[in-house]
């Protein structure tokens, strides 16, 4: 594929997505054949744009929380004083991943009530592992000679962390965040089963009223968001990796 094809495809996808969210009526004729007589082809129980923004917000909050906790945890267990907690924290984070999100929701609802909160908890737990694992990999595979030089030039432990270790590990950490965001974007849809305002609402409404057009538009918006955000984060990673001198 020619180099200019992917960026153009991305730009087209972004334009179509924005057009659909701002003025879904334009796309009504396209979706009409999928619905039975008189049923609406475009989701009509709320604004798609608002749902999309709420969906993104819930993912952003959960991911931000997961980044803070996972990166902090990974930094702590890679310091000399935290090394003995490494196995423990690894298994804790693994548990978060093996727990099905639906089960987290079911358990969280009695404690937190319906709405956004149980969904945030599930997404947060789900987002931890990829970020934690990648941060750990990034911080433990730094070139030995570089770390030796950092110590030898008289950097304190804190200076080594912020001036050398984190900048060099950043591309790998960002790859973990990217993975975590994409998983969360998809998983957030099931939050609507406990009344969180996400794009899952559109899909659930479609399933309940046997309206394939609803299911399709809900799914496609989430898919398009995932592809665009994945691409955007990949681009940032490449810039950082080049700056870190990892690709010569």
């Amino acid at each position: 594929m020619r180099a200019w094809v992917p960026p153009i495809l991305r730009a087209v996808l972004l334009a179509v997505l924005i057009a659909f969210l701002v003025s879904p009526g334009w796309f009504s004729p396209l979706l009409k054949p999928l619905v039975q007589d008189n049923a609406p082809a475009i989701y009509n129980q709320g604004s798609l744009l608002t749902l999309t923004l709420l969906h993104l917000r819930i993912v952003a909050i959960a991911t931000a929380g997961a980044i803070v906790v996972a990166v902090t945890l990974a930094i702590l267990v890679t310091r000399p004083f935290g090394a003995e907690f490494l196995p423990l924290s690894r298994s804790l984070v693994n548990v978060g991943q093996t727990f099905p999100p639906v089960a987290v929701l079911a358990l969280a609802v009695p404690a937190l009530g319906f709405g956004e909160k149980p969904t945030l908890v599930a997404l947060f737990l789900y987002g931890l592992l990829p970020i934690f694992e990648n941060t750990l990999t990034g911080l433990t595979t730094l070139p030995v000679s570089v770390m030796e030089a950092a110590r030898g030039s008289g950097m304190t432990e804190r200076q080594r962390l912020f001036k050398v270790e984190l900048p060099l590990a950043m591309p790998v950490i960002l790859a973990g965040i990217r993975l975590s965001v994409v998983i969360s974007l998809a998983t957030a849809t099931i939050g609507s089963t406990v009344a969180a305002k996400t794009l899952g609402e559109v899909i659930i409404a479609g399933l309940q009223s046997n309206n394939i057009a609803f299911v399709l538009q809900g799914g496609l918006i989430v898919g398009a968001l995932a592809v665009l955000i994945y691409d955007g984060l990949s681009a940032i990673e490449r810039v950082l990796a080049r700056r870190a001198g990892l690709f010569s």
């Binding site: 570089v146 030796e148 030089a149 110590r151 030898g152 030039s153 008289g154 304190t156 001198g245 010569s248």
Partner: protein, 312 residues
């Protein structure tokens, strides 16, 4: 002056460095040699406290190196390692500025120092300051590594196999440059290597480590003449002895009055290289010239043979 006094490093039951005492004179090049596992690197790393000794003290200009935190000590001591260890995410200028920035020098002073060092290491500041380490050749990376170690004008420079990763041609150039810079800056250099040619080329004094013990510490010629143990003898190599003696001094120091035909040798050429040149060109004598081109005299095959013979 570095005074190493009864220094011992033990890991559990394994003694890596055993009761080493030696004094390193200021403004000299001291080379620590030994096989791998002899404790030479550990000894070096105890000077800037990258390794903490089990017992004993090390004094720098009379001051115990435990009177300040380790990181402050290390900012005062240059440290260059094999494979340079440059920070890949920082430019050449930022790499060199590492220690001055840690010490809180002002911007203008740092910039001036970086430019001065780049020029000293024959790297054009306009070309190299903004480059990243991966954009440099191996020899250039190594030079930047040494420049970084010298940036805060340390009295002492520790080097751990600094030329180990270089190919032979670049290594010879790097060694010659190091000697020039040492003469210019008068830095006390302590260098660890397992390469005996390198040791004889660079050292004012050689320390031989074997199984954690300092077995001999003296001038290169002394090691050849009176090896303290069989290990030192093996390390020097029986068949290499005459050539080792010749590699210590320069042609300038073997000049005899008289004239000779052929292309003059620079006076800084080692006597070993002078001998090699004579053998190769089939001559019995070669003229020796000073740096300004003035002919100082000649070196002869007979003269060098006498110098290479076992001292009586």
């Amino acid at each position: 002056m570095i005074e190493i006094d009864g220094i011992t490093k033990r890991y559990d039951d394994n003694t890596v460095v055993n009761n080493v005492t030696m004094t390193i004179e200021p403004r000299t090049v001291t080379v620590i040699v030994g096989t791998s596992g002899s404790g030479k690197t550990t000894l070096l790393r105890m000077i800037n406290r990258l390794v903490e000794p089990t017992s004993g003290t090390i004094r720098l200009d009379g001051e115990d190196n435990h009177t300040m935190p380790g990181y402050e000590l290390r900012r005062r001591i240059g440290y260059a390692i094999q494979g340079h260890g440059l920070f890949p995410h920082r430019t050449v200028a930022q790499n060199i500025a590492t220690v001055p920035v840690l010490l809180g020098w002002d911007r203008a002073r740092i910039d001036a120092k970086v430019a001065e060092l780049l020029a000293l290491f024959q790297l054009d500041p306009t070309l190299f300051a903004a480059r990243f380490p991966h954009e440099l050749s191996g020899g250039q990376q190594q030079r930047v590594g040494v420049a970084r170690a010298l940036a805060a004008e340390p009295n002492v420079l520790l080097m751990d196999e600094p030329f180990g990763a270089l190919d032979p041609i670049i290594r010879a150039k790097a060694q010659a440059d190091l000697l020039d810079i040492q003469r210019l800056l008068k830095t006390t250099i302590v260098l660890v290597t397992h390469d005996m040619d390198e040791a004889f080329h660079l050292a004012d004094k050689i320390a031989v480590m074997d199984k954690g013990e300092l077995v001999q510490y003296g001038a290169p010629a002394e090691l050849v003449k009176n090896p303290a143990t069989e290990f030192v003898e093996t390390l020097i190599g029986a068949s290499e002895r005459p050539f080792r003696l010749l590699s210590i001094e320069t042609a300038g120091e073997a000049v005899e009055p008289g004239t000779a035909d052929g292309k003059p040798l620079p006076e800084a050429t080692s006597q070993r290289d002078a001998l090699s040149e004579m053998l190769w060109t089939g001559r019995h004598a070669l003229p020796v010239a000073a740096a300004d081109g003035r002919i100082l005299g000649r070196v002869t095959l007979e003269g060098l043979t006498r110098r290479a013979a076992k001292p009586q």
